[in-house]
């Protein structure tokens, strides 16, 4: 039960930070998203984000900051195995599922609905 509470608190806090960036610092939604992704990747680079996931579970792995963490994680893993070029080949290693899903489901819904806004 405690696990769920921490997931809620940590996940909610990340969202609150995003909301403050938009409302108080007048960041656009795109800037807010990028800030969270970059923050996640920096924390990931120092090995801190995985600790946060271990602690808060989905509360840390679902928000967009987790995406930044996974970009860095994939790049570092691949770099360890294949050398420095792995930074380039590995960056989408872990995140490819998310990116592919976005493209494929985006395409499918565009077929079904009128996508022009």
């Amino acid at each position: 039960m405690e696990k769920f509470i921490w997931a809620f608190i940590i996940g909610g806090s990340i969202c609150v930070i995003g909301q403050i960036l938009m409302d108080k610092f007048k960041l656009t939604p795109a800037h807010t998203m990028c800030t969270l992704v970059v923050t996640g990747s920096i924390l990931g680079g120092f090995g801190l984000y995985d600790k946060l996931i271990k602690f808060a579970g989905a509360g840390a792995s679902v928000p967009i900051s987790s995406f930044g963490n996974q970009l860095v994680k994939g790049a570092l893993q691949e770099a360890q195995q294949t050398g420095i070029i792995g930074v380039l080949t590995g960056i989408f290693e872990i995140t490819s599922a998310g990116i592919s899903a976005a493209i494929i489901f985006g395409f499918l819904s565009a077929l079904l609905f009128r996508p022009k806004g």
Partner: protein
């Protein structure tokens, strides 16, 4: 005739012999559904794009107004129109359809009264016997151009406003039956340094106050001379600011006499944030609801102060502040 610094008094009292308001699905659920000549249940109006839909709205408003005026479009000398789409294509493309000599104007959401003031000026000075003023806006087309594409799902703050989907048009004549345009005040551009495109009501309020002040000063009138003064699209946020500013400037307008088309057009239950906005907000409310009430004899004299935020998507991306303008037209039975 020029009176004071920036106001015109129309001595020959040009008459609005026909007017029309066209609306979309959201306006059909609003307060003034009965005052629209035509309401569409489809935001696309059966067109391929929202821009084409907006052009259709304006075409229908102009055609309906001409029909209700009982004149032929060939008899109208000039057509004055403006809208929010880049390079005012809704207006220009409608002018192509109508084939009436055309003066394209841009005053953002103040275009409705800017057009009516100019059309009245032409008719009053005998430079035209019949002139047509119109304007339009489309919620989805405006969102796409000024903010984010709707499917992006960007959050909006409570100060944001809802662009009215619709169009309004009026035929102004030298003679005939109908409400008369008696004076107009052309506003200065006022910029109080607000740069948030989701808070246009606050940006526009000082411009509305400036024009109301100029109108009262130039014509030596007060709120007592009008049934009410309606600003264009300040919304609930801008309305409160306008009230405070008027008080600060020592202009006394009783609470019930100052209203705003953006607050009136939608029901409180509709999710429109701070209220309605867009060229069609003041246009459909005036050419539909207000003029209908005037024709029924419920109103004697009103002042419509259409407010416009003169920003462009480029200017706000470059972090410029939002200059605003307001034009006032007084209409009398």
């Amino acid at each position: 005739m020029l009176q004071g610094h920036q106001s015109w008094v129309f001595e020959n009292k040009p008459v609005i012999i026909g007017s029309a308001a066209i609306g979309g699905p959201f306006e059909a659920q609003g307060n003034f559904a009965a005052d629209f000549d035509l309401l569409h249940d489809d935001l696309w109006l059966g067109q391929e794009s929202y821009e084409k839909a907006e052009k259709k709205l304006l075409e229908q408003a102009c055609e309906t107004a001409i029909k209700k005026a009982g004149v032929k479009k060939e008899d109208i000398q000039f057509f004055m129109s403006g809208d929010l789409i880049n390079q005012i294509i809704s207006s220009s493309f409608t002018a192509r359809t109508l084939g009436i000599p055309y003066v394209g104007i841009y005053g953002a959401c103040s275009s409705s009264m800017e057009g009516l003031a100019l059309a009245s000026l032409m008719v009053d000075s005998r430079f035209a016997t019949l002139a047509l003023a119109g304007t339009s806006s489309h919620n989805a087309a405006a969102e796409k151009q000024y903010r984010y594409p709707t499917e992006y799902g960007a959050q909006k703050p409570p100060t944001a406003q809802w662009t009215v989907t619709g169009a309004g048009a009026g035929v102004v004549a030298q003679l005939g039956d109908g409400p008369k345009v008696t004076s107009a005040t052309i506003g200065r551009v006022v910029d109080m340094g607000i740069s948030d495109p989701f808070n246009m009501g606050s940006a526009m309020a000082p411009a509305a106050v400036d024009t109301i002040e100029a109108h009262f000063r130039d014509l030596n009138v007060s709120a007592a001379d009008y049934d009410f003064i309606a600003t264009g699209d300040l919304g609930r946020v801008g309305h409160i600011i306008a009230r405070d500013l008027l008080k600060k400037h020592g202009i006394d307008i009783p609470e019930e006499k100052l209203t705003d088309c953006g607050m009136l057009i939608y029901k409180d239950t509709q999710p429109v944030f701070a209220g309605g906005s867009g060229c069609a907000c003041a246009a459909t409310t005036t050419y539909g609801h207000f003029l209908n009430r005037m024709r029924r004899g419920e109103l004697k004299k009103i002042l419509v102060v259409a407010t416009g935020a003169l920003l462009s998507p480029m200017s706000y991306q470059q972090k410029e502040t939002i200059p605003c303008v307001a034009h006032a037209v007084s209409i009398e039975r």
